[in-house]
Structures are given as structure tokens and as C-alpha cells.
Symmetry: D2
Amino acid sequence: MNTQDKEPDDKIKLNKVGITDLKTLIKIKRDEKEYWHTPKVSIFIDLPENKKGIHMSRLIECITESLEEEIEEEHYSLENLGKNILKKVRSKHSYQKGEISFVSELPIIKKTPKSKKRTVELHEVFVKVIHDGTWKKVLRVEVIGNTLCPHALEFSGKTHIQRAKGTLEIECEFEKDITLEEMIDIVEESFSSEVYTLLKSEDEAHVIETMHKNPRFVEDVTRRILERSKKFGCRARAECISYESIHRHNVYSEGEI
Amino acid sequence: MNTQDKEPDDKIKLNKVGITDLKTLIKIKRDEKEYWHTPKVSIFIDLPENKKGIHMSRLIECITESLEEEIEEEHYSLENLGKNILKKVRSKHSYQKGEISFVSELPIIKKTPKSKKRTVELHEVFVKVIHDGTWKKVLRVEVIGNTLCPHALEFSGKTHIQRAKGTLEIECEFEKDITLEEMIDIVEESFSSEVYTLLKSEDEAHVIETMHKNPRFVEDVTRRILERSKKFGCRARAECISYESIHRHNVYSEGEI
Amino acid sequence: MNTQDKEPDDKIKLNKVGITDLKTLIKIKRDEKEYWHTPKVSIFIDLPENKKGIHMSRLIECITESLEEEIEEEHYSLENLGKNILKKVRSKHSYQKGEISFVSELPIIKKTPKSKKRTVELHEVFVKVIHDGTWKKVLRVEVIGNTLCPHALEFSGKTHIQRAKGTLEIECEFEKDITLEEMIDIVEESFSSEVYTLLKSEDEAHVIETMHKNPRFVEDVTRRILERSKKFGCRARAECISYESIHRHNVYSEGEI
Amino acid sequence: MNTQDKEPDDKIKLNKVGITDLKTLIKIKRDEKEYWHTPKVSIFIDLPENKKGIHMSRLIECITESLEEEIEEEHYSLENLGKNILKKVRSKHSYQKGEISFVSELPIIKKTPKSKKRTVELHEVFVKVIHDGTWKKVLRVEVIGNTLCPHALEFSGKTHIQRAKGTLEIECEFEKDITLEEMIDIVEESFSSEVYTLLKSEDEAHVIETMHKNPRFVEDVTRRILERSKKFGCRARAECISYESIHRHNVYSEGEI
């Protein structure tokens, strides 16, 4: 009898047992384009009270086997790959609830606002697939932007500006059709202005002008993200953190619909 | 009319608005001993749908005023200080729900197991006070230890050993009498062995012996923490993460009672 | 014969062998005031090519013994404590070059610029003591401030502002009388404006006004730090990193005198 | 006249001015294989004492233009791409010394030791190209492994084992033919044992056996890396940090040849 299958000393059910911070290489193919990810992967299953441990190597084997097959069976999204891995786990290890998540980055290619040059922007993304009878997913994007303080502008005519980070997290049934790109768009357009990796002088002037036309608190950014996420018709959580230029600390806002 | 008190564009209630990553200096006096903390402080209140923003500077003022008073009115715990700050906030800013948290470190002085030398061990602690009509608190400790794999020991006679981190988080009514020190004790004794900053050769031999007598999976550590936390009679969550010596990734276990 | 004293397989001298990321509790007493630190300590010595290893536990013992003595023999600075520890190491373990460093935080209490309220500001500090025949020290401070872009201001009348971090590092003989507080002052006054934890509306207006009167590139901040450090008459290195509000990336400048 | 080209207030030459933490997407094609990187890029040039600032957007433009061209002009290594970017910078911005660096990850596909299954291992890599008249490069790899303490094994028959990280950094003329893969190999084989993402029970037994046959201090690992790097005939620096399973702190060793 495997050590894992023995009775544990303390008979308590565990919610999540598995692997975290596993780095691997993943190729996603969608709409004729290839996306390479080197995500941090976590995979967990629950453990009943009468088993000492789970079989960790089976979880990893399911990940590595799913990735080998990728040459044949193309994965068109991280969600889709995650579901395939969990299905394979199910065939090798019993569980009541399983989940797998990927922390990665998504490149978006766009044009600078005035000089119309090509610029590549990378955004942090998080994708989780949950299986507990039904299939669900959690999608999250973290996007850099800025806030220009409306209170100081009103109070003193001048103001302070700073980098901010906006987060949108959606939880929904697996089949719901929502892309990370749409979610990034929503967050980007909720700041005082979008930011760009490349900015020629005329672009920079445009970004500064845009910020001044859209003074926003972190509260405004959070609410705008939520408002624009209503169209998805599912549970959404938004955050904005602002790395204040006049303080050592950060200001923060969170809400959900 | 202050900008903050105006109507927002998007009328959505926000759960948490405030300050995060504020570093400050705090003196706690308990049982004739002084504890100095330089914690990261976060403080949040909710915001109704018809107000554009909260008054951030009032939150900070409540923190700085409470700390000035400390010379007179001694704070005997981070919880107690947190409650005093939230009470002050309540008198300056309306809210339905307020919360304040401190991330800090707690030094424990103990003796090495055999040579009986003095050694100082620092542990990460987290204290949150929540006020929404009633007063609640969340206490969390993160403690370093180790795991020695029972499966490999059975399977091959030899085994692998690694550093691990155990977490215990308790959520309870504010008045409940639980100390961070007790919680640290529970986690430390749940590993294959406790670890020490100072170990002379005889101490090191003792720690190694103890590890070999107590082979533990992360699942075992998590369950032992939970089992020993039952005495508190409140909601407890435990985690163990093991920085595997035979893998690049970590293994993880989580449960709650 | 101890394993450490045996011949190694590969006979190569090593520059630095020791302990890193050791957290401990330190009390410094200076000018009747007590400063509590919970620093990260690193301590290294060199190792000749014919010894397999150093005796790690002796290094730790020297740290713990020096800290026990602190009740009697007061340490009036981290440098002074570091020197005492290295002297003790020297008496227990031969070395050609030894060094010890502390990463900690220093609280500075000051008044807000207009409302004159008390505010506590914490700064990251780094202190290293080096012993290789002579005694030297390295002092470093990392201070938060901001930059307001002079180019955008000239080019478009409006501009962007962001949080920035300035660093000053001094390397000099041990006896040189330089305080971390003086160094923090130099960096703070080199930004477009100082920042504060607490800012009432009139203070905030003052900080914003100050930023607009002092547009600065990261290059300007770095040079101002260096210019003002010339008075110390020793090797100084300065850095400024700016967390741009119009970009995802940071801009950086470094120089030395 | 551009603000950047004006005289600065403090006339001090700066060594490094530029961009840091820029994330982008890079495709490298070598030996018919494609490697996708999403590195953190830093690029710096020096600034003479009589110019107020550098033209930051030109640096970024050189990066984005070089990456657009990649479809035509294939980049076969990060070094080669770095050199192309610096050449382009040279044509748009004068400098005495320029440097560009990439922090990324390299996937290595290998077989598990006994079950011979496919496993993908990711390693942190760092590539810097320096141009100051001549062209030089710095290559660095950071590899996870483990140490098994030889002293405890001798002293008490049992021992402690833990995860460790080994670093090898090579500095040489640009044309020198050294691959990151070779460097990773050198570090991996210097530990008590290699580690693997996937390990079936028989593989795990093999890794444990290998560790026990190769007890190593961090000093041993560092020296072995250096010894095996002598074949490159250039400056090499090695580090090993061990995340001790019996302590809260880490032990560290560094040397160079």
C-alpha cells in the first residue's frame, strides 16, 4: 500500500492539495496565430479525510502529457488546455474538486496614438479552470495606467499624477465567451489615460492631454471597469491601486458586481 | 462642495477604499515588555454609490494621531491599536464597514535544543480588525520549518528533506483571547522539526534526528495545525508550502475547520 | 578532523562564504533615543583554497552573543554593532576579509509643510562593515520622492508626474562621521518635491506647487544627489529610478563621484 | 533646443541613463528552432556632463524597430539581437558606452533519469551586451538544485538536505562562442543532484540516491562550477545559495576565476 493511501494521523478533509509555482512552456494556437507562454502553473485537488496524501507526480504527468500532445491536438486557449489537463487528472486520480491556474503575460500589438508607430504592450493575465461537477473559469487581467487627481485639480488648479494598476477578474461558467483582450481593453480605457511603451514627443503630448481631460480617483477607475464589465453578465471584481507621487504609500479601491 | 462628496459618473457601491503599504513605527507594551513594529498598514472603508470618493487624508490622520497618543494611552496589542484607529475613523468619516491590517514580524526568544544557547527567531504575523456593527479580528502567522518525505523513506529507505512554510489564520470575534505566540507554537510543532537560527553541532544532530522521527507530507503538516487549532473553537485556515529539494516547483496543501 | 577543515576536491579560493537573509532583533541606543531594528543580516568571510568549508555556526554565534551583550554594552549604531560582531568572528575564525551588512528601515519624524502636523516617514537603509586589515563601511539610503518631466512641460505646457526612488551610497573609512539621516536629507531634497505620509489639503497644494516649480529628469535628481554629497569627501554613487506614469517601464539614471 | 540638450544645473557625467523593466516579446530562431522570450529589457547609455538628459524615446524606438525587422532579419540569439539594437542606437544617439540586457527564461527539454519520460525545465537567464569601443557580453544562468550536508552526515550518520540555487556568470568578448545551455549544464551537474519537474517513484529514488552519493556544501558547489568553467578561458563568477531546511536563513558562497 502506498504511503499516500494510508490513514492519516489527523482525519481532516483538505480543500486544496497539489503543486504551485511550476514553470513550463506552453504553445497556444488561435486564429492562425501562435502564443508562447512560460506561465507559473498551480494545480490542486481536494483530499478526503481518510487518505494521507495525494499522488503529486500524477498531477505533473498530466501536465507534461497534455503539453506533449499539443503538436497533434492544438490548444486554442489557456482555459481549454487547463480543462484538458483536469480531465486527464480525473482519469488518473479521484477528486471532488479540481482546479488549475496559469499566471502569464499577454502581448498586445498596437499603434502609438499620433505617430502611429507599432508598439508591443505586455499585460499580466491569470486563468483558472475549476471542476466540481460543473466547469467554471476565472479570468483576470492586470493592466498599467495612471490616475490624475481631480480633487487637487479643483482645489489648487494644479494636480498630481501617478502610475496606477487596474485589475479586472471575471468568474463565470466555462463556456462563456470572454477574451482576455476584451478585458484588457476595458481596464485600459478606465484610467485617466492609456500608457504606451513607445511614445514620440507628439504621442507624449497626446497622452498628457488625455490625462488632463480625464481626472480620475482610484474609485472612478474601479467603478468604470465595473460599469463596462456589466455587459458580460457575470460576477466581476475590479481593483485599482495608485502608486501615489505625493506619498510613500499607495491608495486602493475595490468593488464587485 | 468637496470633489469627494460629488456624485460619481458610475453609481456603484465600493467595498474597500483606502490606503495600502503605509509603513509606520508602532510601539506595543504588554506584560511590561515593549515590542517595536515597523509594519505595513492597510486601512479600508466602504463607499456608498452616491459619493465620488473617500477622504483619504482622514484615514491617515487617524493613524498618526493614534500613534502620537501612544505615549499616554498605551497600546497592548496590534489588535487593540487597530480598534482604536477604526473608532477614531468612525468619528471623522462615515462607513458601513471598516477594516485595518498590519503585516509585521514577531521575535520569539528561545533556547537551542541541546546546547541551551539563546536564539532569537522572527516570524511573519498579520493582524486585521474588522468593524461592521460588530468587531471581529483575523490573526495570521507564517512560520518556517521543514518536511521530510514519508513516501520516499518507505519506498527507498532514504528520503528528501526541504524547507517548508506553515500558515495558520484564525478568524474570530474581537474579544476572543488568542495570542500570536500560541499560534506560532502550533505551527512550529506541526513540522517534521522546528528550525533555529543558531545550531551548534549537537543541536543540529538533534534537529536532524527529530526530522527523521517525524516524516511528514505537507498534508500532514496542514492537518496537524488544524487539529491543534480546534481548541480555539473558531474558524481556522491552515496552509503548508514545501520548497521541494528534488523539484523546481513547490508543493502545497490547504484546509480549514 | 572537522569536515570543514578537510581538503576540498576543487582547490579554489572563495571570496565570500557565509549567511544571508538572517532576520534578527537589534536595539540601537544613540543620543538617549532607542532605535529597534529587525534587519536582514548577511555576514561573509573568505575561504582559502585548502579548506573545504567555513564554520557557519560560529558566525551566527558571534551575532547572537553580540546581541545578548547589548543590555550591558550599548550599541550606538548599526556600524558599531557590525564592527563588534566582526571582531568577535576574528577571535573564533580566521579570515583575510570579513564583511557584515544590515538591511533595515529608519523612521524620521517630521512636520507636514503647511498644517505642521507630526508625520513619521520610514526609509530603507543599508549598512555594511568591511574588515580586510583596515576597517571600511558602506552606507546606503533609498528614499521615495517624485519627478515632474521638464521636457513635456516645455514642449506642451502640461506634463507628467510620477513616483521616483533615489539612492545614495557612500563608501568610506569606518571612522568617517556620516549619518544615515544626513544622507536621507540629501536625497529627499533632490527630487521635484519631498513626499509625506500625511498631507492635509493645504499641504498637498504645497507639495504640488513645489513639484511644478522644480521640474526634474531622473538625470537631474541623480546629479543633485551627487553634487550635494561632495561635502563628504568620499566615494559616492547615486541612482534615481522613476516609475513613469505614461509608460509601463521605468527610467533610470546612475552616476558616481 | 530640446530640453535634453540644454546645460544641466550640476555638471556631472553620468555612467548609465536609460530604461529598465521594459517587457517585450522577442522571437529568436536558432538551428531551425524558435525560442519565444518575454524578457525584462534594460538599456543604458552614458551622458556627458554638459547635456541635461538623454532622448529616452530613441532607445525604445531602436528596440521596437529591431523587433519589427525580426521577420526579415532573423535574430539567432539574445546577444545578437542586443548588438543589433545597440548599433541602431549608435546611429541615432551618441554615446561612449552603451549596454543592453535581457532577463528571461530558457526551456530545456530532457528525459527523467529512470522512467525516461519527457520533462521541460525552465532556467533563469541573463544576457548583457556592452559596447564601449569593443563589444563584450555577460552571460548568466540561475539554476535550481540541492545540497546534502556532508558535515552532518559525517557527524551524525544522518543529514539535512535542501533546495539550492547555483549561478554562473561569464564575462567575455562578444565573439566568444559560449551557449547558455552549456552553462546550465555546468551548474546542474555541480549540485548534490539535478532536480526535475516530473519524477516517477523510480526517478525520485534515483535522485535521492544521487544526492546521498554526493554530499556537498555550498562551497563545494561554487568551486565545482568554477572548476568546470575554466574551459571557457574567461572571467567567471559563481554563486550558490542554499535555502537551509534546518534554519530560517540561507547560506551562501561566491567565488571567481
